[in-house]
């Protein structure tokens, strides 16, 4: 695998290989010496054109646990913010000998352009591009679901028949898109719930069922309820009237939490707007996998970096 740009491009075999290797990476994180020599001598650049401390740190920890050298390149205060183009930045990285580039960018497709324009030889990992995809988030979400369901027996297993309901701003969510392709690939049944203004036009051929009613979706007793972050500012573009109505209709309130089976996982990619799309009680309940998701993020990202950079195709 040369690049990881989207989950839509993964085969089932590739997805399972990444998840299974992540199991072994998770073991390393449980040891006293949390380090492997596997990517020693490799240089990985975190190229973040959008602010994101959490994801960037997750990738940095992952790279360092594999003994790679890490260079952080964030947009603020760098030549990028002074108008240096993606192409020029890429050519600088190439000249510096970067082996892998982890890129987060506000424009959908920027990682694809970086990977295919012929500017660099490095492997490219998409850490989130515009509203397009965030493949490592989907992979860590799938890993989390698998672990919660099968524990130590997770290796080699897919998510056949697991019912996952994703709620919130699907239209603007790269996490939603990546999750939809990956969950469907692994055999899960995906349902979307959102107001019509936040569902894209043209999802007729997506492998999902879509609806507007969260109470009905809760009544179906899904195995996983994935809440997406909604930006309150969207109300100014008339996507919904305001936070109060959004929360009432599509928020995971205490009342809805009580109606969910105890076994339902409550997931959230973070950062959470407590009180808007998810109540504080729901966020902190035993059903919540939010902290697992963060921990698993490092293991999954170690696995991704390994698959991209360790073998001969890199």
């Amino acid at each position: 695998m040369r690049h990881l740009l989207s989950t839509a491009e993964l085969t089932r075999q590739q997805a399972l290989a990444i998840l299974d290797t992540a199991e072994d990476m998770a073991d390393v994180s449980g040891r006293e010496i949390k380090k492997l020599p596997t990517l020693r001598g490799r240089t990985i650049v975190n190229l973040f054109f959008e602010d994101s401390t959490r994801t960037r740190i997750s990738f940095e920890v992952a790279a360092k646990r594999l003994s790679a050298d890490v260079i952080n390149f964030s947009a603020k205060g760098s030549s990028v913010s002074k108008g240096e183009s993606l192409k020029d930045t890429a050519q600088t990285l190439q000249a510096m000998g970067a082996d892998g580039v982890v890129i987060r960018h506000p424009a959908s497709g920027a990682p694809h352009t970086l990977a295919h324009a012929g500017w660099i030889d490095a492997g490219v990992v998409n850490a989130g591009d515009g509203t397009h995809e965030h493949p490592t988030q989907a992979l860590l979400d799938a890993f989390t679901i698998r672990r919660r369901l099968h524990g130590a027996g997770s290796r080699g297993r897919d998510l056949d028949g697991v019912a996952v309901t994703i709620v919130g701003d699907i239209l603007h969510s790269r996490v939603a898109r990546s999750n939809i392709w990956l969950l469907a690939l692994l055999g899960a049944k995906v349902r979307l719930v959102a107001p019509a203004t936040l569902l894209p036009v043209g999802i007729g051929d997506w492998p999902v069922e879509a609806g507007f009613d969260l109470d009905a979706a809760v009544g179906e007793r899904p195995d996983v309820l994935m809440m997406l972050r909604v930006q309150g500012e969207r109300m100014h573009d008339a996507f919904f009237p305001g936070e109060r109505e959004y929360s009432r209709e599509w928020g995971l309130t205490d009342e809805r939490l009580a109606r969910l089976p105890a076994s339902t996982m409550v997931m959230h990619p973070g950062p959470m707007n407590r009180g808007l799309e998810i109540s504080a009680a729901a966020a902190d309940s035993p059903a919540s996998t939010v902290l697992d998701q963060v921990a698993n993020g490092v293991s999954v990202r170690m696995s991704v970096l390994y698959h991209l950079l360790a073998g001969e195709e890199s």
Partner: protein
């Protein structure tokens, strides 16, 4: 210099000889030629007229100049181009339009007719000095804020009325700005998957529907730029049936290319209005064939490499199209049996000239008329490449693509601008 063109095929299919002397067509019989061109196998078309070109000068000379843009035009068989007003400074005064016209005259490759802005600075607030531009040496008759939509309904009404005062026409770039804020590509199945903000068809159709009704109400002419959707074709068909004086253009790229090309995020395919669906392409072709769409216009939009070699969201909208236009129309309309060569002459020369008020293109090859002529080899095949481009910019969606036909010789007012597929040098062509 007397030129004899032997054995060419006219648009109606008959074989003929043509002769050019002192800049006009003369009787070929008994002419003593200084230069003889063997044109057997070549189709003679009246010089093509582009009602929608961006020459970028003044202000954006790094993308194109009047000289380089008209060279590109000549290479594509064009002998006249209407230059859009979104220059810097904007073509909203007599001074700027006269300057652009003069640059075109000096270059000599094609007749340049500047288009005047509808509003000052294209800001959509106040009418520009339309009367002054109409009366200037540039004799402007086509007015457009292209790039921007005249979206305020009252202002559009006033513009239609005021421009008709001077015998002109408003050419509207139909795009409701509120429905297309930061839009990147056609709104639909592909945009949903790619996570690119959508540009819905209704944002074009709703403006056209409003404008044709306004034009009807005030009894003015209206021209619709770069029609791109099936729904827009329907609206225009309806309007014409009611007797509304609306004309419409389609670009070559909207007759051939579809939105799936965005899937590689290659910004050479980013354009406004965006590439649409296969159904839209079908409807546009049918509309051009049945006369609902009156003409082909290139919307030649040069951009420097750095405006395209970047992430899609940061890239500029637009494609160059003068050199490829005839070949693309050949592929999309002639090879599919929808148009014959006489129709091509109509939609790419005679009708655009009529809409723009350009004289000398009424009666093709009539004796005594200016010798604007393009000789085209329909049997040739080329792989379109950067060598096929003659302007300053290379943002063409056809690079690497097989296209039919080849422009071989072009005469602008009797002066050869292209011979044997090569542009003539500037010193030779310049006036």
């Amino acid at each position: 210099m007397t030129t004899l063109i032997k054995g060419t095929t006219l648009p109606n299919g008959s074989r003929a000889d043509l002769a050019i002397e002192h800049g006009v067509f003369v009787d070929a019989a008994g002419v003593t030629a200084d230069r003889t061109i063997d044109a057997s196998g070549l189709i003679a078309l009246p010089g093509l007229v582009d009602l929608h070109t961006h020459l970028r000068e003044p202000g954006f000379e790094q993308s194109e100049t009047v000289l380089t843009g008209t060279r590109a035009a000549a290479a594509g068989g064009y002998t006249a181009v209407f230059a859009m007003a979104n220059t810097q400074p904007v073509q909203d005064t007599a001074g700027v339009v006269e300057q652009v016209q003069a640059l075109g005259e000096r270059a000599g490759y094609a007749t340049v007719r500047p288009i005047g802005a509808v509003t000052v600075g294209l800001k959509g607030e106040r009418l520009a000095e339309i009367g002054a531009m109409a009366a200037s040496r540039a004799q402007v008759r086509v007015f457009s804020d292209d790039g921007m939509c005249v979206h305020d309904p009252l202002l559009m009404r006033r513009a239609l009325e005021y421009v008709s005062t001077f015998g002109g026409v408003v050419a509207q770039h139909a795009q409701d700005p509120r429905l297309t804020e930061d839009a990147q590509m056609n709104e639909g199945v592909v945009s949903a998957r790619l996570g690119l903000a959508g540009w819905p068809a209704v944002a074009e159709e709703s403006i056209i529907a409003r404008d044709v009704l306004l034009a009807e109400h005030v009894g003015a002419r209206l021209h619709v730029c770069h029609v791109s959707t099936a729904g827009a074709v329907e609206v225009i068909r309806w309007a014409k049936a009611r007797g509304i004086r609306v004309t419409a253009e389609a670009t070559p790229h909207h007759l051939l290319l579809t939105e799936e090309l965005a899937e590689g995020y290659d910004a050479r395919f980013k354009v406004n209005p965006p590439l649409r669906t296969a159904e839209d392409v079908e409807a546009l072709r049918a509309g051009l064939a049945d006369g609902t769409i009156d003409i082909v216009a290139t919307d030649h939009a040069p951009h420097p490499a750095e405006a395209k070699e970047c992430a899609w969201g940061e890239a500029a909208n637009g494609m160059v199209g003068l050199e490829s236009a005839l070949s693309v129309v050949h592929a999309a309309m002639v090879d599919t049996g929808l148009l014959g060569w006489a129709d091509v002459a109509r939609v790419m020369s005679r009708t655009p000239a009529r809409i723009g008020g350009l004289r000398g293109y009424g009666d093709a090859f009539a004796l005594g008329t200016p010798a604007h002529l393009a000789l085209y080899d329909p049997a040739a095949h080329t792989t379109f490449s950067a060598d096929s481009l003659h302007g300053r910019s290379t943002n063409s969606p056809y690079l690497g693509r097989e296209l039919p036909g080849r422009v071989v010789h072009v005469f602008h007012g009797g002066v050869a601008t292209v011979l044997d597929g090569e542009l003539r040098p500037a010193e030779e062509v310049s006036r």
